[in-house]
Symmetry: C2
DNA sequence: TCAAAAGTGTTATCCTTACACCCATGT
DNA sequence: ACATGGGTGTAAGGATAACACTTTTGA
């Protein structure tokens, strides 16, 4: 019996709904009690070399199958292969297999609810509550994260420096892109419930999915899905700034405020209204339609559309983030 | 017999030598005639789930084994899984296996020659001659690439637009980062020798490595290695601008001109001397040593060092590229 | 009339670009 | 002295950040 390799494909599917960034999750429910039986996870499945011509085709099929949802924009994120962080060993044919995770990022303008009870659009702040700085610095950081990290770091200068840099302690600046590094630091410090679970499995204990783990530092997810989600959020936040990807999250027609709320929801920081508009104007990728949206609650706002046709004519950059200091 | 999966790990190892960007290649030689028996390839090997704890550990071992070289900075690039673009099917245990490629980028300051005859530092302009714009627009583009692409595109507007955008035709601007897209366009247009090879293998013909392929549009490489190399070059060119990665390519002490030549060699574009210096000064990551390098051929140049210790204190950006229009 | 959100004007500062010129060494 | 590369000054234009204010709707 040889240990072979199984490739797990997972999708981080992002949308913006009511000014909240949400991600598509699956959570198997008990048919009788209608209660969730396990942690939530990302739509995912194993790559079959016989049937699947490419990873992306296989991934799209998994998502549609499991959520009823059709993906639009898709890009590959990262491939995780380290032992002890993988999904529980899969059984394949004669023997066991090591699972390697290939994560994907998908963007979609429509966050419609599908009928499957097992599917849900979850705000990602549930999994990473420390990542939302739109209402200012989350109190969670100073009240829970910083003390716990300091306990873990002890006198280790390099640990202290990492914590300071990543969680903006002692006056250091917040870098919204480093989502994965922050999650990995918490994992390493034993502050992510997944760490304890992976360790107990590594010690040969049975791979039980722990149901009642503390959700204080963000809700845990199945397998290594929270790590993949962190990778996706980080990538998306970075990409916003150098590629016009926000528009993949917008409907055909939108107001500039809605666009700003979408960027803020992704980046997790508040932006300066007028300077944001200037930035949008400068990249010259939207076009006013002359029509108004009267549902805004105040003065009606002009509707705009994304001039997608320009992308084939010239390389286009993203939106710089004019921060609103408050 | 089931078709299983083998994960191939490959490294794009980059260094700068005499103002040229070079990449570490292996090319098996015939022991008797001392002539190369196949195309050059990247150092690579199959991931073993039993033995290897992480991809990166396995990769480092392969490179050391095959080239005698120890890697420093390493980052993952991309995982290629599409059928027909993979390496020839590997034989594993009972059956055949589909090969999936995980590419890595490694950076190193030392481009020392190792003794192995099979190893060579090759300038990457050999594989992508159209990517070097330091001496102005390469004539190869207008003389060979553009006509061939136009023949291939015919009346297809989307093909014409892609060719124009990627190869800066008809006055469009050159985007040095899109190395992979350019290679993929040439592959799709049948202008990369690898395309013909992969197709003949797909038709069931024997997987011969063709030895005498035209090198007009860049020398071909083994398997999908030129695609991985293109991914690495593109990633590195992008990263230069937002992370201080050039310094991974520099020795402990260097002159500012040497730094500029390194950036130019990677980015493939000429830079404006004084503005480059201003940019370097502004990011404030180098420190003058007060000592001089007298080997410059003109006035001695001051030696500088990279203040690596700052990286743990603050997040650091890269160098913007102040182009020299000429 | 007032709350709520849309939309505009203006300035100081900093960064980038684009000029042209002087300096120290080896031959 | 002169060729070769090292190193500097400065001004224009553009982008960003930081101010506060007007406009148009619905309740």
């Amino acid at each position: 019996m040889t240990l072979s390799v199984v490739i797990g494909l997972s999708a981080v599917t992002v949308a913006v709904r009511n000014g909240e960034a949400v991600v598509l999750t699956v959570r198997p429910h008990d048919a009788v009690t209608d209660r969730a039986t396990t942690l939530p996870g990302l739509p995912s499945g194993p790559f079959h070399p016989e049937g699947h011509r490419t990873f992306e085709i296989a991934l799209r099929a998994f998502v549609t199958e499991q959520t009823g949802f059709d993906l639009g924009y898709v890009e590959q994120l990262y491939t995780f292969g380290d032992k002890g962080r993988d999904a529980p060993r899969a059984e394949v044919g004669a023997g066991a297999a090591r699972v390697v995770s290939v994560g994907y990022l998908a963007l979609t303008p429509a966050a419609v609810d599908t009928d499957g009870l097992d599917t849900a659009w979850a705000p990602w702040s549930r999994f990473f509550p420390w990542e939302d700085w739109r209402q200012g610095r989350p109190t969670l950081i100073d009240e829970a994260i910083a003390p716990a990290l300091r306990r873990w770091a002890g006198r280790d200068e390099s640990r202290i420096a990492r914590a300071r840099l990543l969680f903006a302690l002692d006056g250091a600046g917040w870098n919204e892109e480093r989502v994965l590094d922050r999650y990995e630091l918490l994992y390493e410090a034993g502050l992510a419930p997944e760490a304890a679970r992976d360790q107990s499995r590594d010690r040969g204990e049975d791979a039980i999915e722990p149901r009642a783990l503390s959700a204080a530092l963000g809700e845990p997810m199945l397998s290594d899905h929270r790590r993949i989600l962190a990778t996706g959020l980080g990538r998306l936040r970075g990409k916003l700034k150098y590629r016009p990807v926000v528009f993949e999250l917008m409907p055909a027609e939108f107001t500039l405020s809605a666009l700003q709320r979408a960027v803020e929801a992704i980046a997790g920081v508040p932006l300066h209204k007028q300077n944001f508009r200037r930035v949008v104007e400068r990249i010259d990728l939207v076009e006013g339609l002359g029509r108004m949206d009267t549902e805004t609650g105040g003065r009606p706002a002009e509707l705009f559309r994304f001039r997608r046709e320009l992308l084939t004519q010239r390389p286009a950059g993203g939106l710089s983030l004019p921060l609103l200091r408050d």
